[in-house]
Amino acid sequence: MSAKTLYDKLWQAHLVREDADGTSLIYIDRHLVHEVTSPQAFEGLRLAGRKPWRSNSILAVPDHNVPTTHRTGGVAGIEDPVARIQVETLDQNCSDFAITEFHMDDSRQGIVHVIGPEQGATLPGMTVVCGDSHTSTHGAFGALAFGIGTSEVEHVLATQCLIQKQSKNMQVRVEGNAGPGVSAKDLVLAIIGKIGTAGGTGYAIEFAGSAIEALSLEGRMTVCNMAIEAGARAGMIAVDQKTIDYIAGRPYAPTGDQWNAAVTNWRTLVSDEGAEFDRVVRLDAKDIKPQVTWGTSPEMVVAITDVVPNPEAETDAVKQTGMRKALDYMQLTPGTAITDISLDRVFIGSCTNSRIEDLRAAASIAKGRKVAANIKQAIVVPGSGLVKQQAEAEGLDRVFTDAGFEWREPGCSMCLAMNADRLEPGERCASTSNRNFEGRQGAGGRTHLVGPAMAAAAAVAGHFVDVRELLPSA
């Protein structure tokens, strides 16, 4: 037997059939559903007189549209009537087809990519799909997880399968020790800066190396979450003891004999020694500093100690055009120190950085400090109701509110600004989310992506600052 990559193992374990040209039918174990990309799929299912193939493979939750300010009044209390209809539609579809849904008022409700792992509904060795590009998050558990469009949501509902061709294999190795104040977010932003936003197109990326192994599962989720920002539909990390420990005892995790059998199986979910990758990229963690994006694509990223780059130095004409448009949109001048960029708002949240570890990192910086006077708003949006409860049990909510941050209800919030949380035209935001596209956080808004501690540091300084200067002394 030839040595196999983790991706190849996951692919082969889910292959239902394969045609001569490589067009394959692969089986889907877990289907996560939210309100935005599912209504048309359920409608299509109904129009064709079909039903979900396996309802118990599905877990649904409203997250994109839900208000984060208050939940009094339930779904009927959602002020935006169009958003309300979408949440009601999800409720109705799940009710009609006997699908488990964590409703808006359920303490387990939260961002779909936070609750899957939290519940143990994401398990190693699974194929996990969702009509959301950040489904790559779940690859942190040694799962094959990727985002799909609404037609594919309908396809999985109807057949439990997807038609695909196998991707190429890329390994991104990050070796060495990341310094204090350098987070998983900084690692993945540095990776995207190196390979570019299309660098992973056509590949499944496995993240490996000692710096990745050293991360908690929360950190690994942050890294895999942004695989799509490097162009790869799927990112993944091999199973180790930390993975197994994270899953043990979670509501959807197997128990008893099945647990033991599962763990035996999960321990094989690593790339074999000598497995060949089509492309290998290496980074040294010790070279990675806290990162800040300056432009309108996640690859437009530099270290906090750098300056805004000059398009004149770019030799590729198309890239140069892209840089000019980005600088114009962001209203930044080449040569400006990143630490001289002042901010209007700060957002801590999203499927990238809203887990308990992220909130702890941000709170450690906010503790005993105050949000700067020039910051109009700094909000902290926990990833789920359970993350919120945990944070409150640890007193993090008080740390944030004492410092002048707002403490919100869980949801996608200002990551994509589908609900009321958004930037006004021209406002500049330090955000722990995953996309700095034009208008992503509100039409005309300007987004800089950073890690959670860096966002908290920016909130208290009013401009970007090297979080390593604010770290609590050991």
């Binding site: 169009v82 699974m126 996309r435 596209f437 034009e438 208008g439």
Partner: protein, 214 residues
């Protein structure tokens, strides 16, 4: 799905890399529970000078004269030229629905994001990847020639320019078959129901924890 066979269409250029799906259709329009009606809001933030909200009468909004697709010469275009990494970002199929609703049946670019590329085929839109040098030339020709049209033939996988130059393009055989015949993927997959059942039976023995209710 609408069949795709031959198209002789007007070409419009969108000369910027990394056109993301948030730009193609901004988030506020994703609240719709329908598949249709997204066309007037295609590239909404670039196309209009005033902010857009669902339910607006778009004909009363101020068009941005600097946005290329607002130029009269590109009205009715069915073929869009793009740059590297077209369709990156969110998985929202609404991006393809918006392009299709606005009349585009073909997008040509040096590279596409995987999810967007896949979504195109599910909606009768043909994404064609061409090398960057060739794309440079097409951009130059379109900008230089008002009324520039290209003829696409999916069966023969050829693009014919106004100068009668013939350019070949690649397309996956299965996807081509589905597009040519306007076939529904789900119907095709359900022809393999026995294979899916057999797989499930085997996996339930090997890995029963994957089938639990939790």
């Amino acid at each position: 799905m609408e069949k795709f066979e031959v198209l002789n269409g007007l070409v419009a250029p969108l000369d910027r890399p990394n056109v993301d799906t948030d730009a193609i259709i901004p988030k506020q329009y994703l609240k719709s529970v329908k598949r249709t009606g997204f066309g007037p809001n295609l590239f909404d933030d670039w196309r209009y000078l005033d902010p857009g909200e669902p339910g607006q009468d778009n004909s009363k909004r101020r068009l941005n004269p600097d946005f290329v697709l607002n130029q009269a010469r590109y009205r009715g275009a069915q073929i869009l030229l793009g740059r590297e990494n077209f369709g990156c970002g969110s998985s929202r199929e609404h991006a393809v629905w918006a392009l299709e609703d606005a009349g585009f049946r073909v997008v040509m670019a040096p590279g596409f994001a995987d999810i967007f590329f896949n979504n195109c085929f599910k909606n009768g839109v043909l994404p064609i990847a061409l090398n960057a040098g060739l794309m440079d030339r097409l951009f130059a020709e379109v900008e230089a020639t008002e009324g520039y049209r290209l003829k696409l033939d999916l069966e023969t996988q050829t693009i014919t320019t106004p100068g009668s130059e013939v350019i070949n393009f690649e397309v996956d055989a299965f996807r081509k078959y589905c597009l040519l015949n306007g076939l529904d993927d789900i119907g095709l997959t359900l022809q393999h129901t026995d294979d899916i059942r057999a797989y499930e039976t085997r996996r339930r023995t090997e890995a029963p924890w994957l089938f639990g209710d939790g």
